[in-house]
């Protein structure tokens, strides 16, 4: 077993237990008047110490200089930093060398203090003849015999976007290899609602907040975007002349495609096979959860209990269970049931719970919860994660205003959510243990994020 494989195994076993450990530690938090504290899981000590060298620029287009290389270096560094599984060597601690190839790298430069890196990523970037080509390596500094963990090559038509794209691909390859085989998310997208155009429309951005662009141009109120598992279709709800209908947007055709509506349909959710949609509809006079084919036809009701039923989400791993929000007993609570409406279980024991998102591994539900909701209550609405089997939960956000609409990243390591402070809503992201919280948007009012499935 090589050094990096040992590191990887050690990391894997620890990472898998991280959330479980957090949840176990959270048990005492159920007691009233428990202040929030970081419970000392000390995640940093378990993370792989990784260095990302600046890439060597072997040839470049004189008209643009080293611009693309700077974009590449910054994007790669940011992706590895965002991944949440590395203790990334800061640029100030790293050697200034930019080794172009395995022949040029001096591993001890990276393994010894101050870098202390267990792994180092390095390589060469060349721009010529309108093409950008990148060769990247990942080396295990502890394994003198066969240090190479990864060797990747990329070629594309040159553009700043291509430099970003290649950096994402290389980062994802490193994250997949060192992160227990779970694919990286550097090329995933977040769909959301923004009012920047003057109307609330559906927008899209990269997972790190780059490339924000408007998708719909309906001039209505459009809400609740949900991207299909294959990324080809976007379902959302829009308020038209006849009320709220599910709309279906083709990401391939860049236009709406037909989808039948009844004027009272809300909050669509894709089944993980992409063949069905669950949604809330009041077509029979009470908002209930319905299921239809992806075409919109064959709708049938699966809940029958008076009160608002809304915001369904499928268990993405099994496709056999649905979590949703119901006000059948008063304030909205989190429930789960089987896909046919049987085996209803209430998950929350009070307060005001909304907006569930089911973790990709099927084990956790993230949701928004105001545990002391009511007239005159201070009304902190925060993001929580609940372990479904034990119903134990931890609180991920504290004292940053009101938070809603959590959405899991495809690797299950991140949660994006809607934060509102001072009346302004923005999309934030964080690691699934609540650390690393930062805003992804700042322009206009942005809400209801939905992370792509891959």
């Amino acid at each position: 077993m090589t050094g990096w494989q040992r590191t990887l195994l050690r990391f894997q076993s620890r990472y898998v237990h991280t959330l479980s450990a957090l949840l176990l530690l959270a048990i005492p938090a159920c007691a009233p008047a428990q202040d929030w504290v970081h419970t000392g899981t000390n995640l940093g000590a378990q993370k792989i110490r990784l260095a990302a060298a600046d890439f060597h620029l072997s040839s470049f287009d004189p008209s643009q200089g080293s611009g693309d290389k700077q974009i590449f270096d910054a994007t790669l560094f940011s992706d590895l930093m965002n991944a949440g599984i590395f203790d990334l060597v800061s640029k100030s601690m790293a050697p200034t060398a930019a080794p172009a190839s395995p022949q040029e790298i001096v591993l001890t430069q990276w393994s010894l203090p101050p870098a202390n890196a267990a792994m180092v990523a390095f390589g060469t970037l060349a721009v010529s003849g309108g093409h950008i080509s990148v060769t990247g390596w990942l080396y295990d500094t502890q394994n003198k015999q066969s240090p190479q963990v990864l060797a990747q090559q990329y070629n594309e038509a040159d553009s700043p976007d291509a430099a970003r794209h290649i950096a994402h691909e290389f980062a994802d390859a490193i994250i997949t290899r060192l992160g227990g085989g779970i694919p990286g998310i550097a090329e995933s997208k977040i769909y959301y609602v923004s009012n920047r155009s003057g109307h609330r429309e559906i927008w899209q951005m990269d997972y790190d907040g780059a490339n924000q662009k408007q998708i719909t141009h309906l001039g209505l109120i459009s809400l609740s975007p949900r991207i299909s598992p294959d990324g080809h279709r976007l379902a959302f709800a829009a308020l038209g002349k006849n009320g709220w209908d599910i709309r279906m947007y083709s990401m391939d055709l860049n236009r709406l495609v037909h989808f039948p509506g009844t004027g009272s349909d809300l909050s669509p959710a894709w089944s993980p096979d992409g063949n069905s949609l669950a949604f809330s509809s009041a077509r029979t006079g009470d908002p209930e959860i319905w299921i239809c084919a992806a075409s919109g036809y064959g709708a049938h009701k699966i809940t029958s209990f008076e009160g608002p039923d809304v915001s369904p989400v499928w268990n993405p791993r099994t496709g056999t269970q649905i979590a949703w929000i119901s006000g059948r007993t008063g304030l909205p609570q989190l429930y789960i049931m089987d896909g046919d409406g049987t085996n209803v279980q209430r998950m929350t024991d009070g307060g005001y719970a909304t907006s569930p998102s089911w973790s990709p591994n099927g084990q956790f539900l993230a949701f928004a919860w105001d545990r002391s909701y009511g007239p005159g209550a201070p009304g902190g609405q925060d993001i929580y994660v609940m372990d479904i089997a034990s119903k134990r939960w931890i609180q991920l956000t504290h004292d940053i205003g009101r938070n809603d609409f959590p959405t899991w990243s495809p690797d299950g390591r991140h949660i994006a959510f809607q934060n509102s402070q001072h009346g302004q809503r923005q999309i934030w992201t964080m690691l699934a243990d609540g650390t690393g919280q930062h805003a992804l948007t700042s322009d206009g009012s942005n809400s209801m994020p939905n992370w792509s499935w891959k």
Binding site: S267, S280, Y352, A368, Q381
Partner: protein, 247 residues
Amino acid sequence: MNARRKTSVFMTSMMTAALLLAAGCQKKVAPPPPPPPPPPPAAPTATLSASPTSIQSGQSATLTWSTTNATSVTIDGVGYASVSGSQSVSPTTTTTYHLIARGDGGSADATATVTVTAPPPPPPPPPPPAMTEAMFEQNVKPVFYAFDSYKISSDGQQTLTDSVAFLQSHSDLKVLVAGYCDERGSEEYNLALGQKRADAAKDALVKAGIDGSRLRTISYGKEKPFCTEHKESCWQQNRRAQFSLDQ
């Protein structure tokens, strides 16, 4: 009767005789020189104007005139008139009024024309008074809800009962019942809650005998608040079912 007339005739004759006797006693004086011939009398002048000079049939114009040195004034179509003055006329066709002022010094003319234009086409008969949104909302008032609730309160029930008679007497009206929520809570859940509020108001009207096919429900959740301040008085305004004409 005859006796009194005879007495009156006798008295008159006596007085006439007395006067003649007195005149007979006057002293004789030299005859005065003959008076100079009087100056020729001045010629009259006349002006006549109409205001306005153009009217529609059925309207009036005022003729105003003045003259000097006139002893008689006539205006065609009006007749004899005073030497100056004004008079309202309502000709039905264009008319030229001709004033002649006569006096010892001759006569003078003045004319004024009042043009009469065709009247506008008669206005279409007024439509039966249309139901306006304001009239409707005066008679069908919103129902307000308690915090996180879609139950109709007793106040709300009274409001609905008051609306039923109006809706029954205007059975042609279709009604949009819209549910609203305050700004607190989650956006998707509030859309479902707003739907419940609209449905609850509709159900109460149907129970009171209003045909359900006249009533359409919609939820605006917290998307279209009536009041945007962050306080309970404002939130209460926003927790409602609002009725409007469904056109």
